[in-house]
Amino acid sequence: MRFADLVALNIHDIKNRLAMVAARAEGRGDTETVHDVLGVTAELSRLLACYKAEAGQLQPAIDAYCPQYLVQELIADYQHLTTPKLEIDTDRAPSSWYYDENLVRMVLANALQNALRSARSRVCISAVEDGDWLEFRIHDDGPGYPDDRLQTAQATAPMSQEGTGVGLYLAHKVADLHTNHGLRGEVRLENDRGAVFRLRLPV
């Protein structure tokens, strides 16, 4: 058995057991534990996806999905938060777009978690159609990305000296897998009175 399979199999089993823990916690109304478990399983999924991306085995399953629905589902698990305030803007979102919903959700959920950690009072998540591109944007009002992060935004290694960087690495890999008619998806990090994470997917 290849190591990738072994890892995948174990993560699968661990996630199953964590799902059980989450179910029990939800059953007794323990929201905090539920969200802790969700965070851990999301991290495991990202790790596995990273491993696959490294091994060239990350196959996107691209289909037509509704960006508005995706944004709504992303914030569903944070409804209980009072601060920071979560805003969504899907007025300029296309009715449907082609992407791998599972992978894009994984990337955006991670960016959203980071934004929630850095934000002072609010986080805005939006989906905007911009010519040949669909742009998912997560904007917080925190201190913004450190300069070195902005400079290494194109980092292609999962490990950087600043930290694990799994999330950003995966974001780039996922963006890379979205291509059409010579256009390729991209991730952009910016500071604009806070940090702006942008995932751009071609038509």
Binding site: M20, A22, A23, S45, A61
Partner: protein
């Protein structure tokens, strides 16, 4: 938004082998106001629920079901046996999407995947979104269930023109409908257009199917090779490629293709069965045994078990010099399944095995059991086995009659004709083989000519009787079935209203529609029906 009242009307089925997950899901659904929830701990129980309490609005099924059958195989079984209305939402629950990303065909995909763990809030939103989609597509779904393809296409066009978020779903369904009703050149152009915008795997597969239907085999192969390159997980591409390779007389290449697919999805039953089928024609019985042993093992004690797998496995042993192994396999099956006791599939192979072992009497006895079956209900494979048993034991006329029936009932199955020809060459002679093929064709021609002659002599009733009889005997022969519908209607038009004849005419017409949807004869039938209505409504 759904009113509380509507929530209670939504009927759920939860399938999971773990008791704790079942009750957790039920609690989550309950907290969302969905209280009409049936629970199943296995595929068997789920099938019972579907039979006794179905149809359900939503099925939530875990990918891992503990036994030898997983959620994907369960779904494929439901779809292939038409046990699911299209309006039922099938949601696959899994801990890791990557594990389920291997798919047999777009038709066997669940409506959605839910990745564990998820909160009640997430479940609520997802259900709402999926129910909105089903509501938007309800008309298309119902028309598809009724196989009214022309109406499906019109309805899809409306949705596509509206440009709403379900446009892509409507496009996919539109292509399938074009293929289903034989509008292959339109399908080809449509898929080409879709690919130019975005080369979606379903569009490439559709294009390949259209090319295959139009006998553009080289183009079809090229399309499939590109598709396999782009989407190596789409097993349907390998399946279609292997069929085209077989049709083009490249069985070795076909087996290679299927082996490749099997290495991606080692547990896929349809693929193992396909390998066995191709290998059998190649007399590669070791390969047949390997593939079917796995199928038999995997479907043991499962509702997905199929007697024909045991029959073909036993046949492989009988053909490779181990008739007693074949017989013990058959015995074993009969001990476990009472329904197998008189199964013609097994009795035919039993006769062959006894014959190979030199036990003439037992062979005759087994054959007698097999011959009691209704010949029109047998699959071509079983019928050919039965014919082989007849030919091997000296019942040449009975054997030839069965082969003739099979071929006349499947007039366009080139592969089957080659197979029958091989069988005849082995058990009789190559000359007799080609003579039989000619008789098959000339008999049908003579039958049609005779019907035309009778109609000219105004013996409408006799023409209708003759063609109806032939159409009941050969329900797969489009020409005969279509002519039977025409003859019955002509009879009614000329000799007077007859409810029974009209009813049978409609049955044949519907069957003809599904056998040969692109025939120009449908217009003639419709015109005749119109004339019947005019004549008898003005008379009354």
């Amino acid at each position: 938004m759904i009113s509380p009242n509507e929530q209670d009307q939504k009927r759920f089925l939860v399938v999971d082998d773990l008791a704790e997950m079942r009750s957790a899901l039920r609690t989550q659904l309950g907290s969302l106001g969905y209280n009409n929830v049936a629970i199943a701990d296995s595929v068997r129980m789920a099938l019972e629920h579907l039979e006794q309490q179905g149809p359900f609005d939503v099925i939530l099924c875990d990918y891992y079901l503990g036994g030898s059958t997983d959620g994907q195989q369960f779904l494929e079984h439901l779809r292939s046996k038409k046990l699911l209305r299209r309006s039922t939402l099938f949601i696959m629950i899994t801990a890791e999407k990557a594990y389920t990303s291997v798919v047999t065909a777009a038709e066997s995909l669940p409506d959605d995947y839910l990745i564990k763990p998820f909160t009640a809030d997430t479940l609520k939103l997802r259900l709402q979104h999926l129910m909105d989609k089903k509501a938007r597509l309800i008309k298309v779904d119902q028309l598809q269930d009724k196989e009214r393809w022309a109406d499906v296409i019109t309805e899809c066009d409306t949705i596509i023109a509206s440009g709403d978020r379900y446009k892509a779903d409507a496009m996919r369904i539109r292509g399938q409908a074009l293929l289903a009703c034989g509008r292959n050149d339109e399908a080809l152009a449509f898929y080409q257009k879709v690919i130019d915008i975005r080369p979606m795997p379903w569009a490439r597969l559709g294009l390949a199917r259209a090319q295959q239907a139009m006998n553009q085999f080289d183009d079809c192969k090229a399309t499939l090779l590109t598709l396999i390159e782009e989407a190596p997980q789409l097993l349907a591409a390998y399946d279609l490629l292997s069929r085209v390779q077989v049709a083009q007389g490249e069985p070795d290449a076909a087996l290679q293709t299927l082996d490749k697919a099997s290495s991606i999805a080692p547990d896929s039953l349809p693929r193992l069965r396909a390998i066995a089928k191709v290998a059998e024609r190649q007399s590669d019985f070791d390969r047949v045994k390997t593939a079917l042993h796995r199928v038999v093992k995997k479907t043991q004690n499962s509702p997905l078990r199929d007697t024909r797998d045991v029959a073909q496995l036993s046949n492989a042993y009988a053909e490779s010099g181990e008739p007693d192994v074949a017989l013990s396999l058959i015995d074993e099956a009969r001990k476990q399944y009472k329904s197998d006791l008189r199964a013609p599939e097994l009795a035919a192979v039993e006769a062959l095995a006894h014959h190979k072992a030199g036990r003439t009497e037992q062979a005759q006895a087994a054959l007698a059991v097999a011959l009691q079956a209704d010949a029109t209900s047998l699959t071509p494979e079983t019928a050919v086995n039965l014919a082989r048993a007849c030919l091997a034991t000296g019942k040449q006329d009975a054997g030839e009659a069965i082969l003739k029936q099979v071929m006349q009932n499947n007039p366009n199955a080139v592969e089957l004709q080659t197979h029958v020809s091989d069988v005849m060459s082995t058990y009789a002679s190559p000359e007799r083989a080609s003579a039989l093929l000619e008789e098959c064709v000339s008999e049908v021609v003579a039958l049609n000519n005779e019907a035309v002659r009778l109609a000219r002599e105004r013996q409408y009733n006799e023409a209708a009787r003759m063609l109806s009889e032939a159409a009941s005997r050969l329900p797969g022969n489009a020409q005969i079935v279509g002519n039977a519908a025409m003859a019955l209607l002509t009879d009614v038009y000329n000799t007077g209203l007859d409810a029974d004849k009209l009813r049978r005419a409609v049955q044949f017409q519907q069957r003809f529609q599904s056998l040969d949807p692109s025939s120009t004869k449908h217009k003639d039938i419709a015109e005749l029906q119109r004339r019947i209505r005019t004549r008898y409504s003005s008379a009354s």
